[in-house]
């Protein structure tokens, strides 16, 4: 009885400690995140101008109705989806390939890893500014090099057809290092014995990559793709930096992503209500895509467990305990 009481008291103390530990961050999140989100939702139900917020008028969901009918918003959605659809697969594949190459080198691994990670930790405005100098007309190194491949000698970020590709290149270059590091961590969790067994069975490097590395990295890939999608959909720094002090999203709306559209409405045109509605719609889109992605990846996880046969090779790893303690991996076909 005494023990039970002591146990209950101990649990109570632990619970109290837990709440106390999370209290400061909850308070800060409440002030800096949850309160603004709730306030923003109320703004989205009003016709409100930042220049005189006291003259706000309740209009229900009219802002949302106007938004989904607005051609400019629909164009910004198209731009965001295009940017994401190109940038995310490119950076995922490149990050995986670079991580695999880095994982296999013996010397200067840390140096190269740092080199790839540097763009991610450099100020995005500084990166965008430097890229603009590389892609400027007539004198830009990248412009001159790409002119040999048939691209026009023009400032990419000021050209309505090339501004979005420029943004894609900038995005991929900025974030790729982060995903390389994530993949490197994932690669380290794959048992070496699987590769050894595959070598014994005659698999070449490409086959080991396709049938061991890629499936084993599925959870990591899910993380990379989801976070890549979320970051890219919310990209703001780079299109803003490209604007160079003029209204962001140009030229002629070529780099107007959903976030830029929301920013313009809320902070350039002072339509706080309409801008808030845009922000909520963007949030709903991103969360829907994240949920869909999770469903797809969970379905694929089941597929791995069924050991699909490809090119006559099939691997299943089974843990076997040795008689005298210790463990060994056995490969069953």
């Amino acid at each position: 009885m005494k023990n039970k009481r002591a146990k209950r008291k101990g649990l109570k103390n632990d619970t109290l400690m837990g709440y106390l530990f999370v209290a400061p961050i909850l308070v800060l999140m409440g002030i800096w995140f949850y309160y603004p989100v709730i306030k923003s939702f109320f703004y989205s139900l009003q016709d409100i101008n930042f220049l005189n917020p006291d003259r706000a008028k309740f209009i229900g969901f009219q802002n949302y109705v106007d938004l989904i009918k607005n051609e400019d918003f629909l164009n910004s959605m198209k731009t965001s989806f295009l940017l994401t659809a190109v940038a995310v697969p490119v950076q995922t594949v490149l990050a995986l390939v670079i991580a695999v190459l880095l994982h296999n080198i013996k010397r200067f691994k840390a140096f190269f890893r740092t080199l790839f990670y540097l763009p991610y930790i450099t100020s995005s405005i500084a990166v965008a500014t430097v890229f603009m100098y590389l892609f400027v007309e007539k004198n830009g190194i990248a412009t001159k090099a790409l002119a040999f491949l048939g691209f026009p000698d023009t400032s990419w970020y000021a050209n309505v057809d090339l501004a979005l590709p420029f943004l894609i290149i900038l995005t991929v270059w900025t974030y790729i290092g982060f995903y390389v590091v994530i993949y490197l961590a994932g690669l380290q969790s794959i048992p070496k014995e699987m590769y050894e067994a595959a070598v014994v069975d005659g698999a070449n490097a490409f086959q080991r990559f396709i049938y061991i590395t890629v499936p084993q990295l599925k959870p990591t890939t899910f993380l990379v793709v989801t976070s890549g999608m979320i970051f890219t959909m919310q990209i703001f720094d780079q299109p803003y930096a490209i604007a160079r002090g003029t209204a962001p999203g140009g030229p002629a709306g070529a780099t107007t992503t959903m976030i830029i559209y929301f920013y313009q409405q809320a902070f350039v045109y002072n339509n706080a209500g309409y801008g808030s509605a845009a922000a909520f719609v963007i949030f709903l889109i991103i969360i829907t895509l994240s949920i869909l992605q999770r469903r797809i990846f969970e379905r694929d996880k089941e597929g791995i467990k069924q050991n699909k046969r490809r090119f006559g090779l099939k691997y299943k790893v089974k843990l076997k305990k040795k008689d005298k303690g210790g463990m060994e991996y056995g490969i069953e076909q």
Partner: protein, 419 residues
């Protein structure tokens, strides 16, 4: 076990202390704001917000210098924004967040939206209260700051537009006559455009677009005549500089942040701009020889006449002190600093002759402004209108065939026009 219990208590104590400290510091911060100015003996902090380049920033620092000698109860905090775009974006947000500055320095080309929405305070009674002498400033400049018979700002600089030309480039191209008409401007631009240099920097910005609109007799007229034939002609001429003649460049194209930088770097032989080019070019490229000219005639002689001024925000809790700052900022030495360091024309009529004596090259520009000056007269929903105008013109230039000038201005008339 004892140690474990002790360390738990220490952790709890630290966490509770952190929470308490954070609440106390927030409370102190808000108390400081409330107390500021509540006692007459304590100096009142006045925040002044503006956009400024390097030369202008030096000038504003001079303007605020020594105010504590004249007004010991005032302490000035300067809040600079690097571009007008950032200024126009940040100030409404600050107003909404109830963290607005007391005084804003802005031009009358964008003030109507602020005035119509009640963001700027009428200052007639404040002027009387602090004893500011309105007559030191040219009467005509007050027009851009008046709305429904009330005054909302004090002009500090007389602004106008001009055509800046690079003298050396003109000489090298063998052009002896400087352009006096838009046709001559176009002919010169064609001759001056080479592989390395453009004939003219025509920034796709409402300020520059309006120069061409005015030159062809056009006028936005607060939204009444957006799609007039004269406006269409002016905008078409502007667009043709890019699409038809290929003689124009935007700052962004060459990696510059504004048209003055393009001109100072000698990437364009001509640029529409204003007297603020003087101070900037002197600092950036002292060897640059440039000639300021009146805006060339399209179908009419025209030039934009506007002013930069200081206004007090309605949200300011220290309007009297703000007005005292404005009165101090318009002292004679500050007006002299404006033209010596920035190259801008002061609004003070007594100082203008000295300004023109020091900058005799600007005399024809200002004389033209006196004769044919036209205000911007944007519609009330200024930012929305100018953003849609710029975006539309970009579409016409960069997506040929997508839109015509007439369609654009008709759309704008429907969206922003008034009867």
């Amino acid at each position: 076990m004892v140690l474990k219990k002790l360390s738990k208590k220490v952790v709890i104590l630290v966490l509770v202390l952190m929470l308490v400290l954070s609440f106390v510091s927030c409370e102190n911060a808000s108390n400081e704001e409330t107390n500021n100015g509540s006692g007459e003996s304590e100096p009142v902090e006045i925040k002044i917000a503006y956009w400024a380049n390097a030369a202008e920033q030096k000038h504003y620092e001079f303007v605020a210098e020594g105010i504590e000698n004249e007004y010991p109860n005032i302490k000035v905090v300067l809040q600079q924004y690097p571009t007008s775009e950032e200024f126009w974006t940040a100030i409404p947000t600050a107003i909404a967040a109830k963290n607005a500055p007391d005084v804003v320095i802005l031009s009358d080309e964008g003030n109507l939206e602020f005035i119509a929405n009640g963001s700027l305070a009428p200052i007639d009674s404040l002027i009387e209260e602090v004893g500011f002498d309105k007559s030191i400033i040219s009467d005509s400049l007050y027009k851009g700051w008046s709305y429904e018979d009330q005054l909302y700002g004090v002009p500090v600089r007389a602004g106008t537009s001009m055509l800046s030309i690079n003298k050396k480039m003109f000489e090298e191209a063998g052009i002896e006559k400087y352009p006096e008409t838009m046709d001559e401007l176009l002919a010169a631009a064609k001759k001056l455009t080479t592989d390395e240099v453009y004939g003219i920097c025509a920034s796709i910005h409402e300020f520059h677009i309006s120069q061409y609109v005015h030159a062809f007799g056009g006028d936005w007229n607060f939204g009444k005549t957006i799609n007039s034939p004269e406006n269409i002609q002016g905008v078409q001429f502007f667009v043709d500089l890019y699409t038809k003649h290929g003689v124009a460049v935007t700052p962004k194209q060459i990696g510059a942040s504004w048209d003055g930088e393009v001109f100072a770097k000698e990437k364009a032989a001509m640029s529409t701009g204003g007297p603020w080019y003087m101070g900037y070019c002197k600092e950036t490229n002292p060897d640059l020889e440039f000639i300021p000219l009146p805006i060339p005639k399209g179908t009419v002689e025209s030039q934009t006449a506007y002013s930069g001024g200081m206004a007090i925000l309605s949200a300011s809790e220290h309007k009297k002190e703000a007005m005292e700052f404005i009165k101090y900022a318009l002292r004679e030495e500050a007006s002299v600093s404006l033209y010596k360091n920035v190259g801008d024309a002061p609004s003070a009529s007594a100082v203008m002759p000295a300004y023109l004596e020091e900058n005799p090259e600007l005399k024809p520009v200002f004389e033209n402004m006196q004769k044919v000056g036209v205000p911007f007269a944007y519609p009330v929903d200024t930012k929305n209108f100018t953003a849609e105008l710029v975006k539309g013109i970009e579409e016409i230039i960069y997506k040929p065939g997508s839109l015509t000038v007439e369609e654009l201005l008709d759309n704008l008339q429907d969206q922003f026009g008034i009867e």
